[in-house]
Symmetry: C2
Subunit: 342 residues, 2 copies
């Protein structure tokens, strides 16, 4: 059954000719329009079958301005949080008849900007985005100018008004810290992402607040600035602190930071959790992990994507309420082996 290449793809005109109707009628059939008699519909469908006709999305888009393409702009698909999120988004998109264009911004606002232009050029119907930072507002502004709806996932931007789904950074942070405090830790460090990212700011503030409530001192040298990427951790500042003053626990603002911190600690022959406890936001892939080690606040990543796609499509199809919606997804503390009591 070796079929030959089709000379050129069938169009509605080919179908129309074969079915002895006008192209317009074919268009009505492929769009499930009401105003077609059953008999002509059947005739047309037979022709469609026969010629293996597949509608041309670009031509459709050109007249209708509807592409049925969604885009997901995340920072890195290799972060298990985003992997699961992407799968959720793709599942919902497929279910609703949309396709998914995937973009990795690598926390880089220029790369993000490139992608936004590409997406406008493509004519995507909507965008789900984890903005690389507050400065992304300019990129989102361009989407807005071009009338493309978008939804912010995981991270917010103060100046941007739109639908959003995010986690509860404050209560998650509090839960991690109180777990550490209850385990007897008094000197708790934080390694954070850049403060131009909303989750970093919120986790920072929650760290300050929680330590304050528990009457623990907040020391500047216990707070390190890092980034959310999978990169080597620089914790020399922490390790240069004399042992007696050195933190006994580290709160990492995300999974990548935690991983790389632990790797670095091990390099220095510092044991986790015996010497220093480490806990963080966002789980690794616990379904694939046979010996889960990290104590984490886990967020429902798949839900972020699934719900995000759902809300975005509602916005696109104008079935969403006019006012913007904020969804806060709950997180869950999972205590594992990377934290212990002192």
């Amino acid at each position: 059954m070796k079929l030959e290449r089709i000379e050129s793809m069938a169009t509605i005109y080919d179908i129309a000719k074969l079915a002895n109707v006008s192209p317009m009628t074919v268009s009505r059939v492929i769009n499930d329009s009401k105003n077609v008699s059953e008999s002509t519909r059947a005739k047309v469908n037979r022709a469609i079958q026969e010629l293996n006709y597949i509608p041309n999305s670009s031509a459709r888009y050109l007249t209708s301005k509807k592409s049925n393409i969604l885009s997901l702009v995340i920072t890195d698909i290799r972060n298990p949080f985003f992997t699961k999120l992407a799968r959720g988004a793709e599942d919902k998109a497929k279910q609703m008849g949309y396709r998914l264009l995937l973009c990795n911004s690598d926390e880089d606002i220029h790369k993000e900007s490139d992608y936004i232009n590409m997406l406008i050029s493509t004519g995507v119907d909507g965008v789900m985005i984890t903005p690389s930072e507050d400065g992304s507002s300019e990129n989102l502004q361009i989407l807005h100018q071009n009338d493309i709806p978008f939804i912010l996932l995981d991270r917010r931007i103060p100046s941007v008004k739109c639908d959003e789904i995010h986690g509860d950074s404050r209560s998650g942070t509090r839960r991690i810290l109180e777990h550490l405090i209850q385990s007897g830790h008094q000197r708790i460090a934080m390694i954070n992402g850049p403060l131009k990212v909303s989750t970093a700011r919120e986790r920072h503030q929650a760290y300050i607040d929680t330590l304050t409530v528990h009457q623990l001192p907040i020391k500047e040298e216990y707070i390190l600035q890092s980034h959310f990427k999978n990169d080597q951790a620089n914790i020399s500042n922490l390790l240069s602190i004399p042992i007696a003053e050195r933190p006994t626990a580290i709160f990492a603002a995300n999974n990548f930071i935690a991983i790389n911190t632990i790797k670095e600690l091990r390099k220095q022959n510092i044991c986790v959790p015996e010497d220093i406890s480490v806990a963080c936001f966002d789980d690794l892939d616990s379904l694939l992990d046979l010996n889960p080690f990290l104590t984490v606040v886990s967020q429902p990543a798949y839900q972020f994507g699934y719900l995000g796609a759902e809300m975005l499509i509602e916005r696109i199809e104008a079935t969403a309420p006019p006012e913007f919606r904020k969804v806060v997804l709950p997180s869950e503390l999972i205590v594992r082996k990377s934290t212990t009591s002192v």
Copy 2:
């Protein structure tokens, strides 16, 4: 700086009017054509800037039949092998000016078929695909009929002639088994994926061959049929074998199978590796794994995607040699804690 929505997107006509040239000249400029004087080019570019003009990909596609969209059809983005592969594909695609449409087939040939139709409708320039099974040849045939180049990643299909990148299932299998045999294992079971998948067939054959070479008996009850999805493992057949005859090691045809097998063994209070050793094809994410446990044959997943995109683009842009290319990527045995000697 709150910009208003643009009434409607700028077109080459708007640019042409503003720059006092013909639309065709604008087209030449945005396509980097040689035949434009520097002065008009500058004039046009100024107009483009001023109006925030972004070319409409659909319109371009309609005339040029070039979409600059690639698609990656994999079975599940949540498998770390595919996550890394996807990232590699996306990186190369971006670098070459292409966008990436992501599709999860879930090893389901019908889902795959849906996607293929979607992709044809979209007018993608090419497809990278890990076919769900040999029956995917019909889906690929449709791509061929529509003149869309594709490349097979990881899995081959006997009847399909095209570019392909795959791992070395035979030597990988041999290496795992010889590691086990050298560790003293004589009774080695295999839990395989469906034989309608090329890698499963190859690993099966290599299993038979290697045991034969080492003069170990091949018992039917040591060979289990499973699937490559992340699903519960059914190993009751193995466990119903009396202890004295029971395998002391299990070779799992992929990472999901291994994970779920180990989980199941643990449920039955069988320790890995003390009671049974387990090894498999494809690593988990070792970069993210703090206590890697699984003994694996690791394949260069990122390379599969990166090279795959590269070869596909060469095919699209007709810079590839006319004959189809087969690339075999090497794999590496990584011995960890899930295997031990008997």
